[in-house]
Symmetry: D4
Subunit: 249 residues, 8 copies
Amino acid sequence: MDKNLLLKLLESIAAGRVSTAEAADRLQHLAYEDITYAHIDHHRSLRKGFPEVIFGEGKSADQISGILEKMIYQENIILVTRIDQQKADFVRSRFPKAVYHTDARMIVLELTPVPIQGRGPILIISAGTSDIPVAKEAYLTACAMGNTVHTIFDVGVSGIHRLLNHKKMIDQATVLIVVAGMEGALPSVVAGMVDRPVIAVPTSVGYGVNLGGLTALFAMLNSCSSNVAVVNIDNGFGAGYMAAMINRV
Amino acid sequence: MDKNLLLKLLESIAAGRVSTAEAADRLQHLAYEDITYAHIDHHRSLRKGFPEVIFGEGKSADQISGILEKMIYQENIILVTRIDQQKADFVRSRFPKAVYHTDARMIVLELTPVPIQGRGPILIISAGTSDIPVAKEAYLTACAMGNTVHTIFDVGVSGIHRLLNHKKMIDQATVLIVVAGMEGALPSVVAGMVDRPVIAVPTSVGYGVNLGGLTALFAMLNSCSSNVAVVNIDNGFGAGYMAAMINRV
Amino acid sequence: MDKNLLLKLLESIAAGRVSTAEAADRLQHLAYEDITYAHIDHHRSLRKGFPEVIFGEGKSADQISGILEKMIYQENIILVTRIDQQKADFVRSRFPKAVYHTDARMIVLELTPVPIQGRGPILIISAGTSDIPVAKEAYLTACAMGNTVHTIFDVGVSGIHRLLNHKKMIDQATVLIVVAGMEGALPSVVAGMVDRPVIAVPTSVGYGVNLGGLTALFAMLNSCSSNVAVVNIDNGFGAGYMAAMINRV
Amino acid sequence: MDKNLLLKLLESIAAGRVSTAEAADRLQHLAYEDITYAHIDHHRSLRKGFPEVIFGEGKSADQISGILEKMIYQENIILVTRIDQQKADFVRSRFPKAVYHTDARMIVLELTPVPIQGRGPILIISAGTSDIPVAKEAYLTACAMGNTVHTIFDVGVSGIHRLLNHKKMIDQATVLIVVAGMEGALPSVVAGMVDRPVIAVPTSVGYGVNLGGLTALFAMLNSCSSNVAVVNIDNGFGAGYMAAMINRV
Amino acid sequence: MDKNLLLKLLESIAAGRVSTAEAADRLQHLAYEDITYAHIDHHRSLRKGFPEVIFGEGKSADQISGILEKMIYQENIILVTRIDQQKADFVRSRFPKAVYHTDARMIVLELTPVPIQGRGPILIISAGTSDIPVAKEAYLTACAMGNTVHTIFDVGVSGIHRLLNHKKMIDQATVLIVVAGMEGALPSVVAGMVDRPVIAVPTSVGYGVNLGGLTALFAMLNSCSSNVAVVNIDNGFGAGYMAAMINRV
Amino acid sequence: MDKNLLLKLLESIAAGRVSTAEAADRLQHLAYEDITYAHIDHHRSLRKGFPEVIFGEGKSADQISGILEKMIYQENIILVTRIDQQKADFVRSRFPKAVYHTDARMIVLELTPVPIQGRGPILIISAGTSDIPVAKEAYLTACAMGNTVHTIFDVGVSGIHRLLNHKKMIDQATVLIVVAGMEGALPSVVAGMVDRPVIAVPTSVGYGVNLGGLTALFAMLNSCSSNVAVVNIDNGFGAGYMAAMINRV
Amino acid sequence: MDKNLLLKLLESIAAGRVSTAEAADRLQHLAYEDITYAHIDHHRSLRKGFPEVIFGEGKSADQISGILEKMIYQENIILVTRIDQQKADFVRSRFPKAVYHTDARMIVLELTPVPIQGRGPILIISAGTSDIPVAKEAYLTACAMGNTVHTIFDVGVSGIHRLLNHKKMIDQATVLIVVAGMEGALPSVVAGMVDRPVIAVPTSVGYGVNLGGLTALFAMLNSCSSNVAVVNIDNGFGAGYMAAMINRV
Amino acid sequence: MDKNLLLKLLESIAAGRVSTAEAADRLQHLAYEDITYAHIDHHRSLRKGFPEVIFGEGKSADQISGILEKMIYQENIILVTRIDQQKADFVRSRFPKAVYHTDARMIVLELTPVPIQGRGPILIISAGTSDIPVAKEAYLTACAMGNTVHTIFDVGVSGIHRLLNHKKMIDQATVLIVVAGMEGALPSVVAGMVDRPVIAVPTSVGYGVNLGGLTALFAMLNSCSSNVAVVNIDNGFGAGYMAAMINRV
């Protein structure tokens, strides 16, 4: 449950604007709510500062909507990741405030604007045009969690002058997310230029021995720069989430 | 070159205590120094806030000492990782201030005490007794970079009450490092309890399908908790470094 | 051949209700029956307590029906696994008693109700909503083999309080089946709470380094809890079968 | 803490034979005891019916002895697995009751004989002479947990008559453990003969594409017999533990 | 070029029935013929006793027909493997003598019946109904190369009595082909029963850790029976070819 | 920017035919041009002798056209690789000079004919008919970079006389590209015949343990001939590019 | 039991030279003999034409000698494979007729000379000097099973003229064994020259992506020649055995 | 046979300085010489411009010396790679002109100085100090084949300014060899700076998911720079050989 919503509810009780019975009804699922096919963790936004995010893959449009219905009274912002156009259309027909981002395959449902909480700008750099969808997923997540986010797209290591020209923006960032497929070399180079934490995101872009992103992943884990940590292949969401978490340490 | 040492040197020139010739001599290798078998990156501590760390594996004791000799006039603290007892003895015979940590297989050479710079305590949790050497490497690194570091060892998920009993220490940490081999489940459970960034370190502890740590690594990258990023197998050093970097965002 | 059916047949012969010629005809395929594309093992229900189960993948609807035709006179309950909607419709048009379960992709053909034979309730726990189809396959199999089966769905380790709240149901089970994809950590945590055998089922749910379920599989095989044994990825049927076998030891 | 020891202690308090102060002292670590390098889970024998087992690999002889010292006052039987001769000699010099089994690389420390608790005999079958050490580890574990255990060694599938001649012993077992390296075919054949649960243990015996046991493991997970579940490569201990757990369902 | 055809041609020249010019024209491509997208090896049937076999996958129907056109004047029997229904229809519209076998996905184009050349019957055994297509490919190939071929389908190791009942047919075979997916155990068991060479064919039938047939392949290569050699996954053609080659040693 | 175009522009300025303002406009993106989804490296043809090549996979037809629009004023020849028929049709409707090669899945957009720059002929040899698309990609690339290119297709090692008959053409080549799938043996044999550099290209042609081309790749990297270097699976473009680079050393 | 020995024994009984009691004693273990750590399959030489072969790896010198003691009264020739010098010395001290072959790491214990039974010569070809030990294991096995065996060593594909010069010996062989490490290309080339069955043996010779022999193995399984079947990595014994089996079809 | 030596011999015959009998003796092994354990390819230096190189691994010191003895009368320069100190000492005791290079584990036996044949300097760049042995192997090979070779060691991508400072040397090279372990990113960055062919050499330096060099290898094969081709892991020799081959195109 969103902390602000909880505070308001408790104030309403204190002020007599809401009966204890009503409040009890509202709070009974504070720990979690069991709707057969899902145990919704309403407690998460209190415990972790951000509500449960719905992983769209492998869930039907009906299941996603069912979960949203239970969450929408408790949260201010909800994300659905890895959801295709068709399911998204169904969801949007029932939740008009839901915005679907085609390239990132993601729904953002925001009731009131999220205030900026991060210590500084997060910078997202991607190596190639084909890596942009993953970078966008990271972008939307970090924004949703209250951060200023900048982006530089398509600056691979085979023309390193393109990267060096963005030195200023790189130096200003408090946290960096670097997205790359193929040989996954970009995070090492970027991390060598800064004294900030870098979250590396391998993508499945490439062919042959890119092995569906494993090569980029392993390269990043072997980075000769030490200020690098890595998330799963194509996991833009996780990178954005982790960066946001770091940005309010 | 250590920023404080650089400032002192410049002040000495300004005050006439050091001749410009002497200073030029000292500063000529500011970018890097080429000693045939190594290009020492003296600029790193200015650029990244911490000097180059010497990776001991695959270097002879002579090479390590040779690099140390060049660095010791420029830096306040130097680390050598993955160095065995025999090489360490050789190094210590030439650098008496060097301290060797047997379990972490690491040398810490600290000239003056490093002041605390982190925003809060870093907490290192390890799953089993056999994971301690990796956890210790993380511990020594994070300490060397100016952090208060706490540890909880041997609290695997098969007896989860051992973990829950340390809830208070867990809640106080600003950054967490979780070290685990075998099925690598601990980071997911710990990360589910906090709203802080968690650096997960897989270890090669186990046998059969632990696959030298790959299973723990992959499990951590697939964590159902989103506030987790991962470093290479047995890379305690990298985890400590990354945590320190995060802790001063 | 179902043991009860066999006993009845023998009694009918003894009572002169069935001629020996008729009986011989019926019993001639007791060991197995060869119908070109299949050697149907009619002896299995005598030898193993449950008839051969038809693996639907890679068989045509015609082949499946052909096998069913031969089995239906010999068995009381027959299962077809991994059968899609289209083939299932064809089969049901010829065997009206066949029930198709869409989520589990499974046909159950039960002539008379199967009596409860298990020592206590089997409990099936699944980590995420997307793991439910596999859990359902286990559920239907264990039910078909004469067990009381309970289920708890969507209680992943990133919000462990959801699991702990079901402690009572967990303690009552004689055998547990735990279904999980991604990092596959749930079986370790559950097994750490009980002194009962746990059958772990990895699922192919996830992406990137979940490697089609291999990561969850390997994690489960490396479980730091010792009361865990594992079946193939997505093999809900095998888990249900094994649990039923254990439950009548 | 061993349940019987706990009962005795409580009776002693009730009878005034032990002061409450003394008892408190004894019980203060009931949940777990923290000795820096290990959190000993004394609660395990109450919760799971058998005390924590010490995994010897990666622990020093000193650490193993340190853990034993804390456990010996609380438990009736303690196992140390994967311990080599040299460490075992050190441990035995301090715990004379400890018996070391060379082939299984295991210490059994039994204070009073463990009574039989299993429903029937457990049968352990191994495919080749080289698989015997793993089979022995399973044997010692199942014995230590209160079972009658029979063994048939070296009956691989290339001379299947050797197996068929042991049909009677096979039919009597309530649970079977089948140990095999190379192609790992034995569990499928054995499981096809019985209506009992079979725990399959792949071993790393073989060369070339046995891939350190992975081939046997994968073959067993793909078994065309459904009453098979699998444990990690060379994990005789886990198989014995799981079989014992099943045998008292 | 088919040896008999070549002999006839040479006799025709000797007898003056064919002019040397005509013959030269016919023989000019004896070594090979280059038709841009293929170097047809017309010499193969002389050198190896059987003409080049056309691998249909990755070739267009046009290319296949183009190659057939050049071969049909030189050979008595031609095989096209791995060709789908659509391409086959196209080919058959141009070569009416071509017979398409749907389950084996194979075309056999036989001008005059091939005489029996093998020393004895070849026996093909398959483990499951889903393995039949691969077994059929082996069957058609061995037949086309002049052998008597027998088959036993669906006799997996989980009901080994089905196999033992065919002992007589097994003992009569001079060469055996054993086709199996999943755990790939059948070749070991069969080979243990005979003193004849066994060609093992792994199939991609199965799921999870069958790994597209790799598990069956590796199991067969690790067979504890020594009279086993293995061909590629799903390579029924190669098995039939190799068996035919052995059968005329 | 194409070197000749640049020289012409500078001459035009010197001759007063182009104002400095116009020229500045034209040259402002000399380093690179940022069009949101791509950083076009216009500097590449000056730095590397050939303009950036557009990797079509994962880019929309719109994005490809957008990049072409910016490049066409700066370059003389542009390649788009891995582009399917549908996207190619869209691109060609906007750039009529673009030629699409169906088998190689590649667009060549050449404004004025490229002069021959290579030291001698490049020879491309492919092992099978199915490898031709990859060989064609190499062919088109090497041609576009100013080379005379010869080809020999379908000369696999199972009929080595076909290869030996082309000895003369092989001896004349200055650089060789050898394309092969399946066991990838051809490069070793060819390289053993010449004292010239051989670029080996593995293809994904095959099935079973060809592992999508990994087997051919690994075989080529293990070549017992030393004058072999390898590019990624199916990377005909890279082979053509590298051969062109070598051919002007 | 050796067939000739059995016949002699039966004749002795018939002739009254051996009492039935003595004979019974001798024949009681005809099926197999259980000596705790091994079930010796005495029936194998009757059933399969060659006695059980002792796999030395993972057995102690004592165990090997124990098995030999039981076999020596029943068989004419016994092989021990993969036995190191030290164990072999121990065995030879107890069985003076045992001959140890250092390079093949194999013991041959032959009581009376084995007569030639093969249809023609077996030819063993190896690619490199380092492959000779594996080739020798095949050589000794095929000899022991009654074959004339020829060898050609060190004729890799990088200098193919060395192979072509041995054409005559190649054409005479009835069965060929081809041993190769690295890229494993030799079997394809050899098989392309003959119309005889070729047994390919991959070796673990090489480094980097030879992957312990997996690359050679996979290349051989992908051979574009159809008269090739493959055995496990370094399995010279299996190749010799299979070739002998083929040579008496 | 060395071309110059051959010419001299032929001139001597022509001049009557050498009898035809003597010459015949000398030339009889021109194609190859069979010394049981090796077929020495004396023809190679004529055919390929450089004599056969002896791969020391898996050969005994005796075998290496035996081969050298046969080659030394035919060649001017001979290399032995992957030979350890002990074997090298043995060889040097018999061939005093042999020079052993400890770090590269290589013997160079040069009778008369090799003249420079390359078109320009070859440049070898290595990423880390631990990669130097592999770089040295490449260096010695390229030198032995008549090239001027320059080196820059320890310039990894985490401090890219170290690389950029060597721009001039990089621009002068006609061929580049780039040696790197860990994430293998250096070749991409270097290749992006030049219009010359780059041979990338992955090394096995690193730990965890460097996977013995596979990660660096795969990263290099996925390079986003097109002027890169790759050799086997740690194959410095092959890189030097290939570079020399390119340098005389």
